[in-house]
Amino acid sequence: MEKSMKEYIAWRCAQELTSGIVNLGIGIPTLVADYLPQGLVTLHSENGILGVGPDPSPDQIDPDLVNAGKAPVTVLPHVSYFDSSISFGMMRGGHIDTTVIGALQVSEQGDISSWAIPGKDVLGVGGAMDLVVGAKRVIAAMTHLNQKGEPKILRECTFPLTAKKRVDTIITEYAVFKFRDQQLWLVEMSDEITMDQLKKITPAYYEIASDFKTFNRKELINQR
């Protein structure tokens, strides 16, 4: 997948984030940090940091300061450090405003699968379940199709679930969907495809929102 598509998805996610405390998952969500409004959004890292800053320069790297992906980070002036149980209390207890998380599948019910593929050994779940269960808002940031070209926005998830009915927004390179009144709505679609084409790659049942619009990805990327 071309880099600009991932960047577009990350940029589009950032448009949803204007304030509050945000936790970014691994993968495309990590790129979201580059597009956040500086100072207005505070980043949480589940290994015990509230107030994560930009990537460090080589001389700023501190082995005692890493993010949830184990990559070195810097911190902002309002940072605090805490142990893992406090950090997950923050998540599970509903004190994180938004999480942006990668997904393998999302269902029309808002179920999400993000941590395991059937038939493979399940040896890592990390913090994904707690994040999705606890964050006030869950944005699934993902490519529209998987690497085999199969749809990921489905009637039902077929992969092991991360959580049930927790996703609020789905952002892909082709579309933005939002869950409103326990139903999936299409709110944005890329102008490079048609409604029929979108339907073919999106088996989930969805309605077209009253505020629906199309977008031109290249224009948006160049504008930013």
């Binding site: 890493v66 450090y81 142990d83 779940v125 913090g127 606890g134 049930k164």
Partner: protein
């Protein structure tokens, strides 16, 4: 102001060499090991366990077995029978050993894992959490509905030994940590019969700001000062 003391302060926390400390770890122990990835791992204590003990059949409770750490060396020497944690996928050798039946693995969501340790150290045997409800990780576990939402009953964790890393101890055994190296260390200190801490520095009583002490010495049994490895 502190009141005048007749006797110098002495707690039951022991200040020992790594050799003396690790001798007290029982065979086939269940052992909490601090750290997230390679950060906050008690490498010095683990090096002692590797070099100077015959310990094996260990059950290790640690978030990961990270490749660059001494925990991985312990694993490579086949001394870990079982690992309980949240994320082992990035260590391909562990995945392979699991497939070949050479290591048992119990997987918990990281928030359930950390809360199970905190509550284990707080005298609570089990707790309900919304995490993992309706997923594979809840299979075989009791569930209950509170206010219309489903929760999973999880048992807490308590170990024979905790090996943890702190930044500084004072001579009473109070601990402070450094940045994200804190992670699981303070809660693991609470959840074992024998808590052994490695620190970079031991300072006089009164030098640590009492408002900033993260682990009061009540949770600490042995402090070991890290020497150059």
């Amino acid at each position: 102001m502190h009141s005048e003391l007749e006797n110098p302060i002495k707690t039951n926390v022991q200040f020992l060499s790594v050799d003396e400390a690790i001798k007290q770890i029982p065979m086939s122990a269940t052992m909490l090991v601090g750290g997230f990835g390679a950060t906050g791992v008690p490498e010095y204590l683990l090096q002692g366990v590797i070099d100077r003990t015959q310990l094996q059949d260990l059950t290790i409770i640690s978030n990961n077995i990270t490749k660059e750490t001494n925990l991985n060396v312990l694993f490579q020497q086949d001394r870990i029978k079982k690992a309980i944690g949240s994320y082992f996928t990035t260590n391909k050798e562990v995945v392979q050993a699991y497939r070949e039946g050479r290591i048992e693995i119990e997987l918990l969501p990281q928030g359930t894992f950390s809360e199970a340790i905190r509550l284990g150290g707080s005298g609570v045997p089990a707790f309900y959490t919304p995490t993992a409800a309706g997923t594979e990780l809840a299979i075989g576990k009791e569930t209950r509905t509170f206010k219309g939402r489903e929760y999973v009953l999880e048992q807490t964790l308590f170990a024979d030994v905790a090996l943890i890393k702190a930044y500084k101890a004072d001579k009473a055994g109070n601990l402070i940590y450094r940045k994200s190296a804190r992670n699981f260390n303070p809660i693991m200190a609470m959840a074992a019969d024998l808590t052994i801490v490695e620190v970079g520095e031991i300072v006089e009583i009164g030098e640590l700001d009492p408002e900033s002490i993260v682990t009061p010495f009540a949770f600490v049994d042995i402090v070991v000062k890290r020497e150059e490895l």
